[in-house]
C-alpha cells in the first residue's frame, strides 16, 4: 500500500523542520539531501534543473509545514516528485537541511548587465516570440516570469546553449498528420488515451482525435528553441543570464 497520510499528519502536528539545527544530525541530513535532492537542485542546493534552494525565502514553502508537504507530496504540475519514501525522519532531515541552506544563503549574483540582457531578450534574441514575462510576449514556450527562481544561472546557460539537453518539463514538440493529410506541428498542451491538444506557434490550439491521425510523432527530448551558442557573444549571453536570473515572479 502507499503510505502518505500519517506523514502528513505528523508534519502538521509535529512540524519536524521546526526542531531546529540543535537536534539535527547534519551529516545524515546532507546524505539524504545529496541522494534525493541534489540531482535536480544541485550540490549544496545551488540550483540546476531545479531551482536554487540556497535562498533566504522559498516562494512555495514559506512555512516549515509547507516545505514538509512539498518534499512529501511533490508539486503537481512541476517536475518536483513526491518523496514519501523518505519517511518522517528523512523528510525532517531534508527539510532541516534546506532551511540550513537558506539560512546561510548569500544573495545570488550573476555577472552581466540586467538592462542590456532585457534588451537582448526583446530584440536580438527574439525571445518574446515564444516566451511570456508577465503580460509581455507570446505564449508558445514556457512562461519565464519567475524563471530566475526556478532555474540556476548554470541551468539557464545549458538550456540556451544546448536546448535539447534541457528539454522536458511537459513541453513536448509534436507533429501530427491527419488521415485527410492536414499537418499540425507545435507543442503538446495535453493528451489522453484518445485525443491530443496541440499548440501551434501561431497560437492556434488544435484538438485532434488520435483515431483520425495517420501519423503522430512526439519528441520529448527535443526543444523548439534554437541554440544561442553562435547567436550571442559570451558577453551578451552573460547579460541575458543576468536578466533571466533577475526574474523572480515579483512585479
Amino acid at each position: 500500500m502507499l503510505p502518505l497520510l500519517p506523514l502528513l499528519l505528523f508534519l502538521s502536528q509535529a512540524n519536524p523542520a521546526a526542531a531546529g539545527p540543535s537536534g539535527i544530525d547534519f551529516a545524515r541530513a546532507k546524505r539524504v539531501f545529496d541522494t534525493n535532492c541534489a540531482g535536480c537542485h544541485g550540490p549544496e542546493g545551488r540550483g540546476g534543473k531545479g531551482p536554487s534552494l540556497a535562498v533566504p525565502k522559498l516562494r512555495r514553502a514559506r512555512t516549515d509545514e509547507e516545505l514538509g508537504q512539498i518534499i512529501l507530496f511533490g508539486l503537481p504540475g512541476t517536475e518536483m516528485p513526491p518523496s514519501w519514501h523518505l519517511g518522517v525522519e528523512g523528510v525532517t532531515l531534508a527539510a532541516a537541511y534546506v532551511r540550513m541552506l537558506g539560512a546561510h544563503a548569500t544573495p545570488p549574483h550573476v555577472d552581466g548587465d540586467v538592462v542590456k540582457g532585457k534588451g537582448l531578450f526583446r530584440g536580438k534574441g527574439g525571445c518574446t516570440g515564444c516566451h511570456t514575462i508577465g503580460a509581455e510576449g507570446h505564449a508558445f514556450g514556457p512562461d519565464l516570469s519567475d524563471i530566475g527562481a526556478r532555474r540556476s544561472a548554470a541551468g539557464l546557460r545549458e538550456a540556451l546553449i544546448e536546448p535539447n539537453a534541457a528539454a522536458g518539463g511537459g513541453f513536448v514538440p509534436v507533429r501530427a498528420v491527419t488521415r485527410l493529410g492536414e499537418k499540425v506541428g507545435g507543442v503538446r498542451v495535453n493528451e489522453d488515451n484518445f485525443t491530443i491538444q496541440i499548440l501551434e506557434p501561431s497560437g492556434a490550439v488544435h484538438s485532434l482525435r488520435k483515431s483520425a491521425l495517420a501519423e503522430l510523432q512526439e519528441s520529448p527530448n527535443e526543444s523548439k528553441m534554437p541554440s544561442y551558442k553562435t547567436i550571442f557573444s559570451e558577453g551578451e549571453l552573460q547579460d541575458l543570464l543576468a536578466y533571466l536570473s533577475s526574474l523572480r515572479g515579483e512585479q
Binding site: M1, L5, D192, N193, S211
Partner: protein, 525 residues
Amino acid sequence: MKFSLAAALLAGVLCAQVPYTRIVTADKEPQNWLTYSRTYNGQRYSPLGEITAANVARLKPLWSYQIEQMDHFETTPIAVDGILYLTEPPDTISAVDARSGRRLWRYVRPVPADIQVCCGRVNRGVAILDNTVYAGTLDAHLLALNAKNGAVEWDTQVADYKSGHSLTGAPLAIAGKVVVGIAGGEYGIRGFIDAYDAKSGKQLWRFWTVPGSGQPGNQTWTGDGWLRGGAPAWVTGAYDPDSNVLYWGTGNPGPDWNPDGRAGDNLYSCSLVALDANTGQLKWHFQFTPHDSHDYDSTNVPMLIDGVVRGQPRKLLALANRNAFYYLLDRTTGEFLSATPYAKFTWTKGIDDSGRPQPDASMEPSENGTLVWPSLYGATNWFSPSYSPATKLVYVSVREQSSYFYKAEAEYQKGAMFTGGGERAVGGAKASGAVRALDALTGNIKWEFKLQSPPWSGLLSTAGGLVFGGSMEGNFYALDAVTGKPLWDYQTGAEMYSNVMSFAVDGQQRIAVTSGHALFVFGLQ
C-alpha cells in the same frame, strides 16, 4: 383494488429482501448487482447484453452523483431493484435512486482526527443481506444499516484504530454472516479475516493471517515478529457456495521493505487462504511471494472459474497478482498449476514448477534505492480484474512501472508507520499502462489496449461483448472483448480510481463508474 394493493405491498417487501439465496443465484437477475464483484465467484461480469459493439457508440452519460469530499471515490455500488447502495469517502454510506441519481438516504459517520490509513481515506463499497446494508469504517468498525433509511442496526468494533487497523474493503455477506478483512499492513498490525453474525453483529470467528505461537506457520517468523507481521486482507475475497469455502488474498508482511527481522517465509502474508466459512478454519493456503520485501500484496480479487487444465477438468482459482504473474490454482486442493507473467518484472529470477519464486538478492531494497519492476503499486492493485465466461478471457488493468525501493531501520511504535523504508516510483514517459486480455487457462496474452499511464481503474466485461475501463487521463472507454479494439470513450474530467459495474433500470442497461469525485451512470440514447 384489494388484490393490487396486496400485490404492491408484497412487491415492496420482496424488493427489499436480499436473502442469501438471491446472491447465490445472482445470474437470474442480471439487472441487479448484489455483491462486490456481482457474483461470489469474483468474476465482475455482467450478463446484461443490451449494450453491444454495434450500439455502444450511442452510450451517453445519463446522470452523475457528486460527493462532497476530496478523497478518492473508489466504491462499487450495489444495485438492488432500482436502488444503488454505495460508500463515499471517508465514512459515508448512501442509497441513491438508480433511475434519477437522487439520494434516498445518507449516513455520515464522523471520522476520528487521529485516524491511521496509509493510502487515503477510502472505502470500496457495501454488502447487502436481507434488509441490511453492511460497511466497514476507517476506525475499524463494522456497521449494519437499515436498507430503507440508513438507521444503524448494530455497530461492532472490529479492532482498535489507534494501532493502525482500518476497514476499507467492501464486506462480503454470505448465509447469516458478514465477512471482513482488516487493513493496516503498514502499521505493524497482525492481520485477520473475521466473520460476524449478520443479525447481531457478534463475532463468529477470526482467522489470523499470521499464525500465533505454537500454530502451524508461526515458525516462518523470527522471535515475536509475528505479533507485528502484517498480512492484512483489505480487498474483498470470493466465495464458493457449493463447498462453503471463502477465498481471500493477504497482503505484505511487516515491516514492508526491511525483512531482516523476519527471516523465513512469513506465512500467511502475500498468500491466498481458503477458509471454511462456518468455522474460519484454514483448508489450504498458497503463498505467492514468500518473504516479500517489495510490498507485493496478494490482495487481488480471486476469480473462481472452471476449466480443463493439462487434460483434467478442474475447479480453478485465477488471480492476477500484484507481483506481475497470473496464477492458476486448483481451488479444491490449493495445488499450484501455473504462473505466467503478464507484465514486466525483475524482482525474481522466475517461478519454479512448485510455484515458488527464485529470489534475486540484487533486487532487494537498499539504502540508496534499488530499481525494481513492478513498482510497489504492483503490476495491478486493488482494482478488479474481470473474467468473461463468453470469451474465456481474463481482463487485467496493468501497470507498467518501476520504482526505487529503499530500505531503512524499522522500529515499532503503536499506531506509527512500520515500513522499514519506502519507494519512489519512476513516472513520466518511463511508465505506462494497458488493459491485457489473458487466456484464462494458459495466461497467454491475447490482446492489449495500451494506456498512456499506469491505471487505477478496474474492469467490467459484459454479455454485450464489451470490456469497460478507465484511465488516469479521465478516459472511460469500451473495448471489444474479443479483439481489444476501442469502440467508445468518454472524457470524465478526472483521474479514475474506480471499479466499473452494470445494472438495469426499467429494463435498460446502465454502466456505472466513479471518476474524480463523482459517480457517472451511462445508458444508450
